[in-house]
Symmetry: C2
Subunit: 157 residues, 2 copies
């Protein structure tokens, strides 16, 4: 990966605020928009979802997910060239009152301080979405398959 | 639906250029970013996808899809309040050299004139994504379930 494209991938993972999450609900794909934060080691995204949202029915331990993060479309450039990354893995719900939950809550709130209020609501839960594999399209002809080593190397760049 | 929210939904369907498409590939959700155009009767979205893209493997006739269209995040507002619509249905690939394909191509190219070149490539195909049901979140507490009658009424507003 070129240094420019690595910077673009880091930018998508850290500066974008929302992702499109696809999970399975009753055997069919279900998608939703969610704010997200990425762990400092780039191993996973964190989402905080309400049990009232339809896609949350697919956020069960071990269930497959596919998430998409992309540059916002400014209406100018060719929409096929928007930088985007798709990441896939298996869902890990985080149990309240565990160290993992508290660490994740801290990371999530560092990005979204205003979300503190939703953490007091009983119907919201935190989910870890570990990156097992992915595909990054930086632009025309700049396409990368991502594996777990790619994410580790991002943390050290 | 309030007139303001109806206008917001029309704006998402007609002025946004890209959608996040979720389909099933090998039993797992697979997501991708695609430019789209909506039919004038608001019955379906059209996407033009390359057979080389992974999510295209899920674009087979009758296969379930879930698509998401949202306001671009400008980094200012609460990301939970971004207007967004999720639409679901079953995929309809369009056969080349049919009247339906030609009509769809015309509508797609009216929105994306620069895509004319990709229509000359053998690996791209047009897909109709009919809206069977959906959910529209216009903002805090402004949530609507959409049924086929909703889409018909949009065409007459």
């Amino acid at each position: 990966m070129t240094p420019e494209d690595r910077a673009l991938l880091l930018d998508l993972l850290t500066r974008q605020r929302v992702l499109a999450l696809a999970v399975l609900v009753d055997g069919a794909p279900s998608s939703g928009l969610l704010p997200f934060a990425v762990l400092p080691d780039f191993s996973a995204a964190l989402v905080h979802a309400s049990r009232l949202a339809r896609h949350t029915a697919g956020l069960i331990g071990g269930a497959p997910f596919s998430l998409l993060i992309h540059q916002p479309d400014d209406g100018q450039a060719d929409p096929l060239q928007l930088a985007r990354v798709t990441l896939e893995g298996a869902v890990e719900p985080l149990e309240r009152q565990t160290a993992a939950y508290e660490a994740a809550r801290h990371i999530y709130l560092a990005k979204f301080p205003a979300a503190a209020q939703t953490f007091t609501l009983g119907d919201f839960n935190l989910y870890r979405l570990p990156f097992m594999r992915g595909r990054f399209v930086a632009g025309f002809g700049r396409i990368y398959n991502l594996i777990s080593d790619t994410f580790k190397s991002l943390a050290h760049s």
